[in-house]
Amino acid sequence: MNPTRAVRALVGAALDPDGQPTVYDLVRTFAQVTDSLGAVLWEAPDGRCAAAGLSIVSLWLDVPPSDTVVEAEIAADPVTTLAFDTGSLAVPDDLPDGSAALLGLDVTGALPIDYVDGCHGVLTLLGRKPLAEVFDIVVELVDVLPELCGTVRERQTLALVNACDTILHDADVESREGAVPRRQLAELLSEVCRILALGLHAAEVSIFLEDPAQPHGYALFAHSDGAGSVEPCDPRRHTCIAVDPADRTGFDPTAGGAPFMEVRLLSGTHVNGLVRCLGTEGPPHHFATSDLALLRPVAAQLSRYWRTWLHRREISDENESWRRLAAGMTSLNKLVAEELGRTPGDGGQEPRVADLAVRIMCDVVPESAAAVAYRTCREAGVTELDAVAHTGNGLAAKPSKLAEEAVRSRRQLRSVPDGGSGWLICTPIRVGERMFGVLETSGPAATVPANSAQVNEIIGDQLGLYRHLNDTLGRLHDARNRLELALRAEAEAMEDLKHQLVSPLRTAASRTESVLRGGRFDKRVEGQLKAVRGLCRKASRVAMSAGVFATLSRGQQPVSKPERIGVDDVVRLLIAAADDAQVLSDPRRGIRFEVERESVRRMGRRLVNVDASFLQQCVGNVLDNAAKYGYESTRVDINADVGPNHLTLAVASTGIPLDPAELPHVVLRNWRGDIARSTTGEGSGLGLWIVDHLTRAMGGRLLVDASADLTTVRLVLPLV
C-alpha cells in the first residue's frame, strides 16, 4: 500500500459517516495499513514527563491474546520508552539487545505523538515486518494521527452533547408549562451522567449543583449509579463538594488514588456546579486534558440548562405564589361577603376573616414562620394593638416595635434584624386615614422573601377594606333601623290621618249630596255646593292615597275587598268622578269631562268584581292627571270596552305628550315627565303608582298608551 492510500484509509476510519469512530478504530487502521499484528497508542497523563507514567489510550491486536489483558497493568516496553524520552522514532535496533516485546509480540518500532491538546504520547507497532519496510507509510500516518485523534474526540464530544441535549430537550417538551419537577430533573441528569460515564469510560459520574434551596455548598444532584438525588448537602456523606477554582484532572487519594476529572458548570465567571468523573472503565486509565476538552461543552450545556431551570422554577414558583394569592383572595372575599351578610353584632366575624387572612399570608409566602393580625384599640388615650388572629407562634409574641411604628407612620415597614436572624414585615390595615390595625409577618431567613412585602400589603389592604365595609355596613344598619322606625311612625301617622279624614269627608260629601238632591238652589249656590262636594271627595281620595302610600311604604300590598258591581253602579261612579273633575277643573281652561254611557252599558247584566273604593280612587287619580296635564278647550273621554273576561275603562285626554320611551316609567313611584315637572310644578308622581297597585290588587291591570299629545289610560278589570 502506498502512503497516500494508507492516509486515505486512516482518514476514512476517522470520518466514517455511518458509525461513531473511536481512537481504537484509528489504532486498528494504523496497524492494518502498516501490516502490523498490533498497535498500542500511549499517552502521558498531564504534568507527567517521565515515560514511566505512560498509559495506554487504545490498543489493537490482530489475534486476541489467550490471557485477559489488563491494560492498566501494562508497562511501556523499552522501545516505546525510548521514543517517548527522545521524542523521536525508536526501533529495537536502538536497544543494546536489539529486541523488545509487548503483549507477546515483537515491537517493530515506536513513534512519538504530539496530541493537538498539547499532551505527548507514543504509538508502538507490533509484528513481524521491520519498520523500515513500511517507513514511508508510517511517517505519513504519524503526521496526521494527532489531528485525526482530535477529530474523533470532537465527534465524540458532539455525540455526547447531542445525547444530553436530546434528554434535556425531551424533558422541556414534556413540561411546557414550566420547569420540570426537581426530582424528575435529578433523574434526567442521572441519565446524562450515565451517558457521560459511557462516553468517557468513567466508572462513575456525578453532578453537583449550587441550589438556592440548599445554600451550603454544591450539593450532589445526580449520579450515574442512581436515579437522582435531592438530598440535603452533607459533606460527611459526600453529598456536597467544594469547587476548585479550575477544571482539573488527577488521582483522588480519598478514593484509593482513582483517577478523577472535574469540570465546572460556568455562567460567565459564576460557578453553578461541577461534573465529576471518578475512576475509569478502560484505557487510558486516567483523565487527560483532552478529556477535559471533551467534557467542557457538555458542562456548558448543563450549566445553561440549570440556569434556565432555576429561572423557570423561579417564575413557576412566583406564578404559583400569585395563583395561591388569587385563590386566597377569592376565598377571603367569599368569606367577607358571607360575614358582611350576617347581622352585625356577631363578635366572631372579624376574627374569622382575620384568621383566614393570616393563613393565606403563610400559604402564599411559605417562607413565613408566623403571621399575626392586630387590631388597634384605644386605652386611656393610647393606641394599643390586640392580636385578632395568628398562625405559627404569632400569639406568643407581643406586637413588635416595628408593628407599632407601622401604625404610627401609617406605612409598611420591613426589617432584617442585626445578625440576619430573621425578617419582619408590618403593613398597616387601613383605608384612607382610618387605621384599623396592622398585619405582621415574619420568617427565619436572613432576607425578605421575594414578593412577601407586596403580598402582605395586598392582604392588609383587603383586611382594611373589610373592616371599613363592616363598619360602614354597621352604621348603615343602624341608620336603616332608625329610618325604618321613622317610616313606620310616619306610615302609622298617615294611616291614622286617613282614618281621621276619610270618614268625615265622606260624610260631608254625602250630606252635601243630600242637600243638592233635596233642595232647589240658584246656580251660584248649587255651584258652590257641588264644589264643596267635589273638594270633599278629592280630599277623601287624597286621604285614601295617604293610606295606600303608607301600606306600600311598609312593603305591603293594599288588600282589595271585592264586591260585584253592576252596570248602573259603574255608570254612577264614572259620572260622579267626571262631575267632580269638572267642578275642580278651572272653568277658564275649558276642559270637558264626558262619560260615554252607552259604551259602559254594553256590560249588560254582567258584573265587575272590584273594590268600589279602590275603583273610585283609581278613576279619580286618572281624571286628576287628565285635568292637570290636559290642554285648554279639550275633552276628556271616559268610555268602556266590554271583553269576554274584562271590562276596560279608558280615559283619553289631549295634553302634554308622553314619550313612548317613558311609558314603562309612568307607574314608577315619584316619576314625572320632564315637561310635566317643569310646566305644572305641582304633583308628586304618586298617582299612577297608586293606581297600578290598586288595580293589581283587584286582579286587574293598568295600561297606558300615548300617541302625540293623546294619552289613553286604561283600567282593565275582571268581569264575572
Binding site: L535, R588, Y629, E632, S678, T679, T680, E682
Partner: protein, 155 residues
Amino acid sequence: MPHFVVVEDDHLQEGPIADNLAGMFPDAVVDAFATEEQFRDHLPQMRETVPDLVVMDVMLRWAFPRPGLPAPPDDVVAGGYYRAGLRCARLMLGDGRLRRVPVVLYTILERNDLERDGQTLPANASYVGKNSEPDVLIRHIRSRLRAHSVRSDGA
C-alpha cells in the same frame, strides 16, 4: 278705588278670595292670575297701573299646559314650584315701580317653612296662613293698605 292683584292657581280658592275682597271693597278692581307665567306676563301692565296690594299664593304652577309651551326661564327651572310666590314677590321687590307694593303671601305653608334654611320673607311681603279664617286675610289686607297709604303719603 283699590286695585288688587290675586295670584292663585286653584280657582276654587281664588273665587272666595275675590268675593271677599269685593265684599269688603265694593268698588275694588281685582285682577286674578292662575299661574306664575301669567303673573310675569302681566308685570309690564302692572308697572303702568300699579296695584295697591297683591295677594300671592306661594306654591304656584308655572303655566297651564298648551301646545308649544316654551321651557320656563332658568330661574324657574332652578327654583321650582314650591316657592314660586316668593320668587314673584322678589321680582316685584327688584322692580323700581313695584317695589313698594305690599305683597300678602297667602299660603297653606307654615311661616317657618318659608323661612327655613336662613331664608327670610322678601321685604315687601307679609304672611297669612290659609288655615286661618277668611276675615283674618281681609283684616290683614286693610292693615297693609293703611300702612302703605301712610308711607305713600309720607313719600
